[in-house]
């Protein structure tokens, strides 16, 4: 990790009084601590940062982060984040939520935000279960899993979040593990630094309901792409790596690509840069005249 000297923004700036309400041992704690380190690593000011989330255990994270937070509806973090970013591109916007929130009810919002390449950092806190509603299968639950919604075992093939992100056109695609604080911090920093849509599949075990995909389960399986000669610059290699999700589970950056940002290409932004800062104003006489001439 790059050493940052002369830190200006420290954890003090990001201090917040609200204590996490997650179960002791919940994977989401690891996500929170890495994200808090991440914003300091990239020197984001809390009042210039917005953490957007959906609904779920995971989606409570804005309340524990500091900065501006908006805890939206179930599955709606992405469109809300797009609006914030396009309205005020100077803000740093983090999107967060669970696997149910983002890959179930919120799937379309995620895919379309990714294909537009909005400059957002999206962290899916993936515990392969619906936590807050007390143990139902999620879109990433493995086949056979017995939950309260599947007393006879899950029969739906899980989505592969990495593949979905790649197919959607995310320009930064990574996986990390909530219990591996250091790796998470590295990945999240890169994601925040990335200009474009960054997607992180954050394996974040639910200690209360998921007895299969536990911390140990992942620990036994994960290996770091950084420790191999894998280069995250080729789409097909990334797709191929994404297939590995059995005995071996790669973590790290699968793919990164540089493409124009939505907010840079947007016609209005090209003209006025930042509509919120630019202020709400009446039509100028000139614009008014230009418009009216089309309607007489």
């Amino acid at each position: 990790m790059t050493e940052i000297t002369n830190l200006e923004i420290t954890s003090k700036d990001w201090k917040v009084d609200v204590k996490p309400t997650w179960c002791p041992g919940c994977g989401h704690f690891g996500v929170l601590s890495a994200a808090k380190k991440g914003v300091i690593d990239v020197q984001w000011l809390p009042h210039n940062t917005v953490v957007v989330s959906g609904i779920g255990c995971s989606s409570n994270i804005p309340h524990f982060m500091g900065g501006y937070g908006i805890h939206t509806l179930h599955g709606r973090a992405n469109p809300v984040a797009e609006a914030i970013k396009l309205s005020n591109p100077d803000l740093n916007v983090i999107v967060s939520g669970g696997d149910g929130d983002g890959l179930g009810i919120g799937l379309a919002g995620f895919v379309h935000a990714a294909r537009r390449n909005f400059d957002l950092t999206y962290i899916v806190m993936d515990n392969q279960v619906y936590g807050l509603t007390v143990n139902q299968t999620s879109p990433t639950s493995s086949i056979g899993r017995v939950t309260r919604s599947t007393p006879y075992g899950n029969i739906e093939r899980p989505l592969n979040p990495i593949m979905m992100a790649l197919a959607a056109g995310a320009t930064f695609v990574a996986r990390t593990l909530s219990s591996d604080g250091k790796h998470f911090q590295e990945v999240v920093k890169k994601a925040m630094e990335h200009k474009g849509y960054s997607f992180i599949d954050a394996l974040s075990p639910c200690v209360t309901f998921n007895r299969v995909n536990t911390k140990d389960y992942w620990k036994e399986r994960v290996y770091r792409l950084e420790d191999t000669d894998y280069k995250p610059d080729d789409f097909m290699s990334a797709m191929s790596k994404a297939q590995e999700f059995g005995d071996k589970v790669p973590i790290g950056v699968f793919y990164q690509e540089d493409t124009s940002l939505y907010s840079d290409m947007d016609e209005t932004n090209k003209r006025v840069k930042n509509v919120v800062k630019n202020g709400a104003h009446k039509l100028t006489a000139e614009t008014r005249a230009k418009i009216i001439k089309d309607f007489v």
């Binding site: 009084d17 609200v18 309400t21 000011l45 809390p46 009042h47 210039n48 917005v50 957007v52 609904i55 409570n60 804005p62 309340h63 500091g66 900065g67 501006y68 937070g69 908006i70 805890h71 939206t72 509806l73 709606r76 992405n78 469109p79 809300v80 797009e82 609006a83 914030i84 396009l86 309205s87 005020n88 100077d90 803000l91 379309a108 919002g109 379309h112 947007d266 016609e267 209005t268 932004n269 090209k270 003209r271 006025v272 509509v275 919120v276 800062k277 630019n278 202020g279 709400a280 104003h281 009446k282 039509l283 100028t284 614009t287 008014r288 230009k290 418009i291 009216i292 309607f295 007489v296």
Partner: protein
């Protein structure tokens, strides 16, 4: 002797009916007339039968015409639809039996059929089928002795980016049509005065809303295409960027609505638009906006329901849906657009209310309202200032941190910080929360203190409705007093001018009438409305509800608010534009 121009052009979708109709409308506008333009079309891209009607006069014409005087019939089906429904003795049908292969020309007695070789004339100038429209438009304006040069100027303007030849060909065709009519048809006698020189803006109800919002500092607009609301988004897609308004077509209406809430939260003046089915998908986000107290304007341009229903036909059938949008009780405003010009000012007003009260404002419009066009004389771009309410952009002093975003206040409105404001950080949560924005739904709910917080925040939010009501003008009766009137017609939204015109027809027959029209639906001036209804009722005045839906949703709404049951109702739900003569007939039935 007539005092109005009433022309309709009709044919298949794909025949260029709308652009020819618009040309006709603009010729009238540029001739100094007040103009009303309205369309009829179907959910099909080619084929079917569509029309554009132009009504123009020196006096105010703000409703669809009762009858057409001149029909340009491009297809045989014009004789199946427009002639039987809209024409009477003395009316003229311009058509080309050969060029359009029209066989059946049944028409009511006295309708004058002018079989014009329009196609043949057009072919002299161009092979393009569309040239026939130019010829026919030329002929139709000749019937009123409108100035041909206005038409040719308009053609030059329209084809400004095309070659000189295109322009001159069109002009020649127009001239030829004009000439043919002058020579072959008895012109219409009228006492309309034409003037030139004024340039009056001619706009649809949807576009007027868009223009109003843009002039009121709109900064964010989101939409997903849905007839008849799409024009708001399309218009802003083009003109928004010229004035600093971002416009985003999303992947569906759920995300449109949530996007709009996000933009409002971020500090942009924010709006979105849709129609009934799309609005159904938006409803969850409306409660969300109210809960986090983000200002957003939701425009709902209703069409024929239920479900996909009649997507290109009009209806005022979504009031229940607007009122019942999203779970629980929360503050929201519902305002019905009552005219095209009204839409322009409503655009300002809705954004101001949304920002001042930090609530969702729902605008109720409908297909007729949104998709008909009017000349807008004397638009005042400076009439309504931009009001942003308690929006804090400055750094929050240390002693106010952490910031109480949802602080309880006298009027229920809490000073609002937006991301970027130092020290104003807070969490905006869709769960119930305390003054700081911290949740009371998780570990705290059920504790006596959390119960108090809940009660405080519910009251705080709902207080806004009382303050808002005070600010809104109460509805007033137009027309005769309770002592004089024989009938009081109650309407809402888009029917304002149609009812006005029906009343004035009845007044001409010597019957005194009055009208109560609802624009501000929620919060509602229940006391005032009740007072009016009772006053008229007590004097034995007949009261008639006029609205375009099956169950009488506004009548029911009024009853819910005032206990007053309006028993007589003229309810329309077959989708066509409501005509003054139809309202008149309904009034007569009651009398």
């Amino acid at each position: 002797m007539v005092n109005e121009i009433n022309i309709r052009i009709s044919g298949q979708n794909g025949d260029g009916i709308f652009s020819s109709g618009e040309t006709l409308a603009k010729i009238c506008s540029r001739s100094g007339l007040v103009v009303h333009g309205s369309r009829s079309y179907q959910s099909i891209i080619r084929g079917g039968h569509v029309s554009y009607s132009v009504r123009a006069a020196n006096h105010e014409v703000r409703a669809p015409a009762d009858y057409i005087d001149v029909l340009i019939a491009l297809r045989g089906d014009s004789f199946l639809v427009d002639v039987p429904l809209m024409m009477k003795s003395g009316g003229i049908v311009l058509f080309d039996s050969k060029g359009s292969r029209i066989k059946n020309t049944d028409a009511p007695d006295g309708v004058i059929l002018v079989d014009m070789p329009a196609s043949e004339i057009a072919s002299r100038f161009s092979d393009l089928k569309i040239m026939m429209n130019t010829v026919l438009v030329g002929a139709s304006i000749a019937l009123y002795n409108l100035d041909l040069s206005i038409f040719t100027d308009l053609l030059a303007h329209t084809f400004v980016n095309k070659s000189a030849e295109v322009i001159s060909t069109n002009i020649s065709a127009a001239e030829a049509g004009y000439k043919w009519a002058k020579e072959n048809v008895k012109l219409i006698e009228h006492d309309i005065t034409f003037t030139t020189g004024t340039e009056t803006i001619f706009l649809g109800g949807n576009e007027a809303l868009a223009l109003g919002m843009l002039n009121s500092g709109l900064q964010s607009f989101a939409y997903y295409p849905m007839t008849p609301a799409t024009p708001v988004g399309l218009w802003l897609s083009k003109y928004g960027p010229m004035s600093g308004c971002t416009v985003k077509q999303m992947e569906d209406e759920i995300n449109v609505a949530n996007y709009a809430v996000g933009a409002g939260y971020a500090g942009a003046r924010s709006a979105c638009a849709t129609s009934g089915g799309g609005f159904a998908l938006m409803t969850e986000a409306i409660g969300f906006a109210a809960m986090i107290e983000a200002p957003v304007v939701f425009i709902e341009v209703a069409r024929g329901g239920p479900s996909t229903g009649l997507p290109t036909k009009t209806e005022q059938g979504d009031l229940n849906q607007l009122f019942g949008a999203s779970q629980g009780d929360f503050p929201r405003a519902i305002i019905a657009q009552t005219g095209v010009k009204d839409g322009f000012y409503l655009g300002h007003e809705a954004l101001n209310i949304a920002e001042k009260y930090q609530i969702p404002v729902l605008i109720a419009s409908d297909l007729y309202m949104g998709e008909h066009f009017e000349t807008l004389e004397d638009l005042d771009f400076d009439k309504i200032p931009i009001e942003r309410g308690k929006l804090i952009m400055d750094t929050i002093p240390e002693d106010q941190r952490p910031y109480k975003r949802y602080i309880d206040t006298e009027d229920g409105i809490s000073p609002r910080t937006i991301p970027g404001v130092e020290g104003g950080q807070h969490d905006a949560g869709s769960d119930e929360h305390d003054e700081f924005g911290n949740l009371v739904s998780d570990r705290r709910s059920g504790y006596p203190e959390a119960i108090e917080v809940r009660i405080q925040q519910m009251k705080k939010r709902m207080k806004k409705m009382d303050y808002l009501l005070k600010e809104l003008p109460a509805p007033q009766v137009e027309g005769a007093s309770a002592d004089e009137a024989k009938i009081l017609v109650v309407g809402w939204g888009s029917t304002l001018d149609t009812i006005r015109e029906a009343r004035s027809q009845l007044e001409k027959e010597g019957v005194k009438t009055a009208q109560l029209h609802i624009k501000y639906v929620l919060p509602f001036h229940a006391d005032e409305v009740k007072e009016i209804l009772n006053t008229y009722n007590d004097k034995g005045v007949k009261i008639l509800m006029v609205e375009a839906n099956f169950t009488g949703q506004m009548a029911r709404y009024i009853r819910a608010e005032t206990s007053f049951e309006i028993k007589e109702k003229y309810l329309r739900y077959e989708g066509e534009n409501m005509l003054p003569r139809e309202v008149l007939a309904a009034m007569k039935e009651v009398l």
